[in-house]
Symmetry: C2
Subunit: 114 residues, 2 copies
Amino acid sequence: MAKLPGMPVRGSQTGRPIMVLLDVLGQRWTLRLLWELGQGPATFRALRTRCDEVSPTLLNQRLKDLRELALIEQCEAGYALTGHGMALAQKLASLDGWANEWAAMLEAREGARD
Amino acid sequence: MAKLPGMPVRGSQTGRPIMVLLDVLGQRWTLRLLWELGQGPATFRALRTRCDEVSPTLLNQRLKDLRELALIEQCEAGYALTGHGMALAQKLASLDGWANEWAAMLEAREGARD
DNA sequence: ACGGTATGCTACAAAAAAAGTAGCGTCAAG
DNA sequence: CTTGACGCTACTTTTTTTGTAGCATACCGT
């Protein structure tokens, strides 16, 4: 069952929305799922494939949670982001640039050490 | 042991930086830790307190991983974000606004249903 | 020097979450 | 009426996370 904002979550009794969000996103595959759906809607099986054959049990669990949190919804094409989900996914997308710089920095560091 | 960009991670063989990042951030407490450190440096124990007495085992594990990934570093005040870590934490901070809107929307929805 | 206290951290067992695999029920095409 | 795709559930094993105890070091006042 998904935790809704306003309710206490792991590590925060306050129910502050950001804490709920950090808790939800901190579950395995949640971020990845949002990322993949940011590329466009997908069916259950397509999503599994995109996520390296993640176990259907977990996929279904996450889809249920994200649906309860109104971040995704079902449509003819399978699952798709809602308006709010899209806004969040865009914020994730903006991490891509950062990640590349970060990787370049790490690589330089590793290279220097060897 | 932390996974570095360039290495395959859970759910992605490519080693794409963003995939590594999503994998790391998808571990419990990682996001929260970055968030808390975004508020300023903290000692091990202070961090534990801020994170609702998270178990020292896990805290230490995460700190080690984040250190290897060059997102945090040790200083006199305890642990602090590195330059890259700060940039990432700022991106997280920008989720706060989104989370508030999202929570308001959910609340309205719930209210309407009851 | 001596308890008292704080810190950073490790060890270990129990509980919870995730992974992996099989397969069911429905549908549509051949 | 068989075959194949789909969405999903059941069940077992493995991995992660928790919770609790406690050690070693360092400072503090007496």
